[in-house]
Symmetry: C2
Subunit: 374 residues, 2 copies
């Protein structure tokens, strides 16, 4: 056994996305203590940078010290208690995971199901809220990584609020790639991941909680079932000032990397980043059109950062993916769940969303599917 030397792969799958050398340099800086005043200063900046990305003034805006799945769990275990009812919208793999979280809390999920590849049906979501008075929360995925679909987060958050429910928003794949307006939408809990449109390595989950969510947290009848994810304790560590209480040892170097990735996002500006994601998505789509390859999702719901391409008849989904990786050093994603074998997922996220990436994957796809590039 010797030191691991990873190959250089162009990451155009559903995440992780390409990590820039600026971010890699940042995570390799010397480790310092998690209670060091200089580190605490960096944490304060990190919260500000996250507020910029989430477009929020929420005080409780922090990175959870674990991947996006833990961010999801943090949202549910902090806001939902045993016996609560939660409307869970499912139009892909991650809605099913939300349901699983609700069940494990001892709460009752009320499912609103839509087909993989379609956005959440707003009327069905509204009907579920109406039919179940006293629902604690409405949970949905803003950008479904498993299908490449965007759902209407603004309307869903408004519906939740209208019916006295909290909104729980999965923004793992949306943060930094498409508009995510935490305050304007009145979203109550949003969680994301570091390894999608933020282009940091995987391992951190930025979250933001509204004042209403914090109130709900404070008025819980039962303790949060997870000690590690208990936000009342995590807040004690991430709060400003001298009263910072030790909770767990923060993943120091990973946080350096997230700080740098968020600086890069702020330097570019959110609007420019969104426009870039859109531009490169359109470039990809044009190339796919020219090859006769179709996208799974209807135009109005397509995510620019995650493109679900329908595998054409007679082409082996896995063989193409394997050749892309082996011969072209490009990673794209397979379908998940009921879409396994039926789609490829091409991510153009964060630093991966550029013309060169688009052109490289189009050229390689043309070779591997035996089609003619534009």
């Amino acid at each position: 056994m010797s030191s691991f030397q990873p190959p250089d792969v162009l990451l155009l799958g559903p995440g992780p996305s390409p990590v820039s050398s600026r971010v890699l340099d940042a995570i390799a800086r010397p480790t310092i203590g998690h209670l060091d005043p200089r580190f605490i200063g960096m944490m304060e900046e990190l919260k500000e940078l996250l507020r910029y990305a989430f477009q929020t003034r929420n005080a409780l805006t922090v990175p959870i010290s674990a991947p996006g799945s833990a961010g999801m769990e943090a949202a549910f275990v902090n806001l939902i208690e045993p016996g609560d009812k939660v409307v869970v919208c499912q139009n892909g793999v991650f809605g099913a995971r939300m349901r699983e979280n609700v069940v494990r809390i001892g709460a009752t999920p009320i499912m609103v199901s839509d087909p993989f590849g379609k956005p959440i049906d707003l009327e069905k979501a509204e009907a579920a809220l109406k039919a179940n008075p006293g629902v604690k929360a409405l949970a949905f995925v803003h950008a479904e990584t498993s299908t490449g679909v965007e759902s209407d987060a603004a309307v869903l958050c408004a519906l939740a609020r209208e019916h006295g429910a909290l909104s729980i928003v999965d923004a793992v794949t949306s943060l930094g790639g498409i508009p995510l307006l935490a305050d304007e939408w009145g979203a109550d809990a949003i969680y994301s991941g570091s390894q999608k449109c933020l282009s940091a390595p995987p391992g951190l989950s930025p979250v933001t909680f509204s004042e209403r969510a914090v109130e709900a947290l404070k008025s819980r009848r039962t303790p949060v079932q997870s000690w590690f994810l208990d936000l009342s304790l995590i807040m004690g560590y991430w709060q400003g000032g001298g009263a910072r209480a030790y909770h767990h040892t923060a993943p120091i170097n990973m946080l350096y990397g997230l700080h740098e990735a968020l600086l890069i996002l702020r330097e570019e500006g959110l609007d420019a980043a969104f426009a870039r994601h859109r531009h490169n998505h359109l470039r990809l789509r044009k190339g796919l059109d020219a090859m006769g390859l179709e996208l799974l999702v209807a135009e109005e719901s397509r995510l620019p950062q995650l493109n679900a391409v329908v595998v054409p008849e007679g082409v082996s989904e896995m063989e193409v993916r394997k050749r892309l990786l082996d011969e072209f050093s490009i990673e794209i994603g397979a379908g998940l769940g009921e879409l396994a074998g039926k789609i490829w997922r091409i991510g153009l996220m964060g630093a991966g969303s550029n013309e060169r990436s688009v052109d490289r994957v189009l050229e390689a796809l043309a070779v591997c599917t035996g089609r003619k590039a534009a």
Copy 2:
């Protein structure tokens, strides 16, 4: 705001410990996909390296994708169910955290309490097991980071087994620093952290579970309350072969770092690493003796990697720590809980356990406490 440039600090606190440039270089290598065959090859090596460190053949030996606190929670939520009884030995801050985990599961903790600074009383632990037939597990901290005390893990694991209970061992601060013999002791669940004697950055929690523990996991009556920490799902991702199932996105770059840190440990050899920790502890102790500074813990229970130094009368605990950091760029730790203000914690862990570190901290302590160095 600009890129964060951490200062160079000699980390001689309770963790994180100094991270070598080999490990920092490793984490800065290009991010690849968490399902890439090359990454999966690295994961297989990582499991082997962890088995070496834990001295075990346990199949279920993996790093949890979050800090040590999450490793603790993984041990409890996977093995303990609502209604179970658990004997929790407490002789420091981390025993209290174990209790908290048991309570949040809806299980009943039976506390065996010993004073901060003393090892767990084996007779009291045995009496608690005898007095409570049907106890599901005995939980204890092998190396108490809050006090610098080693407890007799071999005997405690044997007692658990004798009474039909599983053993849950907190080895956050012991792994790589003092002998930890998972198989020889028959320990059932052990969790550790990356940032202590392994000298990787914080953020990962290596765990190992015995076959008996895996059986207990398989015969649970209820689902594991945490989806993120559910080992039956995590096993699906970390198992070898082609059936690897996506669970969460692994913290790729952090795992490169842990792989490298474990290679360094294996190159040195466990016995040599233990001897080095012991040697530098004795060097520190000699210097402290010469200055008239006392250790909190009696000689037979002292951890070489975590030295609790009694703050002498008339000396400000916080002022000395602050001067060490500001003037000498050395971080040492404060006391926790009832020992706050009463002790300093000097960690000589992993790459931090060397003669130069010992000499630097002794010289600085002499200046800051107005004592004469040897």
